[in-house]
């Protein structure tokens, strides 16, 4: 599950020490924008030592490396590629760079005896990347796409607004590309860390478009994300009713049936099953409950 992916500055030990207590589904240790140029080496070493000593739990461990065309790429990979690392977040992603990363990772994983392939989470943060989003979504190791609205709107020379009207199109495109490739669509962070109500509205909009989670830039955003991107008890209750009615209809050899006056067919049943599966993962529902 990637309901909440929390960015943590790579050179801040006080925050790193607590990265597993924020209850985010994943934490992204940032070596890129959150670290000044003269501290890149220090952050890289700190994150590497942290990853080397961590006792792996349920939280997904991700690192946002520096851009693939920067001089930091090889040093970043050499430091952080190890068995405890789950996923690399790739800024300014393109197909060409993802192919290059895949090859470099194959070599490092072989040399270091890493059995589980490290995933890639490209950030779609430019018009060029958006136009390339389908091939990007199909590259080796890609487990999802993260929308980066700040850089995207800067490239487009448009202003960011709270209602997000200006990013509706890229959100739609990314969500559709992810569903088509069976990977996770992760929404852009909400930058006003004080406005929880607006954050919730923004997350609900993202969910309605097909995003399964959202990046967080402050620990206070995690709980809201986990709540918004988990099925509600009402949804679970309705999904169970649909499955039950479906089983009864199957016994009665009915292909299509109705529940509360609405037609229920295979896609509705499939959606109910997916929702129950997510509810189980999120701890909202257990089989026997």
């Amino acid at each position: 599950m990637r309901r909440s992916l929390l960015f943590i500055p790579g050179n801040n030990p006080a925050v790193l020490n607590n990265s597993d207590v924020f209850l985010a589904d994943g934490v992204i240790f940032d070596l890129e924008d959150a670290v000044s140029v003269d501290e890149k080496d220090a952050a890289r070493l700190l994150v590497a030592k942290y990853l080397a000593g961590i006792k792996k739990g349920k939280t997904e461990l991700l690192v946002r490396i520096n851009a693939c065309d920067s001089t930091y790429l090889e040093s970043d990979l050499a430091a952080i590629v190890m068995p405890s690392l789950d996923t690399i977040v790739v800024p300014k992603a393109s197909v060409k760079e993802l192919k290059k990363l895949d090859k470099l990772l194959q070599v490092l994983e072989t040399i270091r005896g890493i059995k589980k392939p490290i995933g890639l989470l490209p950030i779609i943060e430019s018009p060029q990347a958006l136009l390339e989003v389908v091939p990007i979504s199909k590259q080796n190791r890609v487990v999802g796409l993260l929308f980066g609205a700040e850089d995207y709107t800067a490239s487009m020379e448009i202003n960011r607004t709270k209602n997000g009207f200006e990013i509706l199109y890229p959100r739609n495109v990314i969500a559709v590309a992810c569903k088509a490739a069976f990977i996770d669509a992760i929404d852009t962070p909400f930058t006003d860390t004080l406005d929880v109500d607006a954050l919730k509205v923004d997350a609900q909009l993202a969910k309605s478009l097909g995003f399964v989670g959202k990046a967080c830039i402050h620990p206070s955003q995690v709980e809201v994300m986990n709540e918004v991107f988990s099925p509600t008890l009402q949804e679970v209750f309705q999904a169970r009713r649909i499955i039950q009615a479906f089983e009864e209809a199957k016994t009665a050899k009915l292909g299509v049936f109705s529940l509360d006056g609405k037609m229920i067919d295979e896609p509705v049943v499939k959606r109910a099953r997916t929702l129950l599966s997510k509810a189980k993962q999120a701890g909202v529902w257990r089989e026997e409950s």
């Binding site: 006080a14 070493l45 700190l46 590497a48 030592k49 942290y50 000593g53």
Partner: protein, 83 residues
């Protein structure tokens, strides 16, 4: 004399000064020295060995850093010292 500095005096961090030396020494100033001196010393020693630069003086001012932070800061200070 070559010198490298890494880290900070913020809580949970440490400030490390590595200086090239023919007679290496380790100096520790820590808010938790009474309880963790040996552990801090071991973390520093491991990092020096990992760096492959044994000819350094290390002065570490610790503000309650965990072992991984001490090792990272020592390694960084040494790397900056010899870069």
């Amino acid at each position: 004399m070559k010198k490298g500095i890494a880290g900070s005096l913020s809580s949970c961090d440490c400030y490390c000064v590595a200086t090239e030396s023919n007679h290496p020494t380790i100096q520790i100033d820590s808010v938790v020295d009474a309880f963790f001196h040996e552990q801090i010393l071991q973390a520093i020693t491991q990092a020096i060995q990992e760096s492959n630069h044994l000819n350094v003086d290390i002065h570490l001012i610790d503000k309650g850093a965990f072992d991984y932070t001490i090792q990272a800061r020592v390694l960084c200070a040494i790397a900056r010292c010899f870069e």
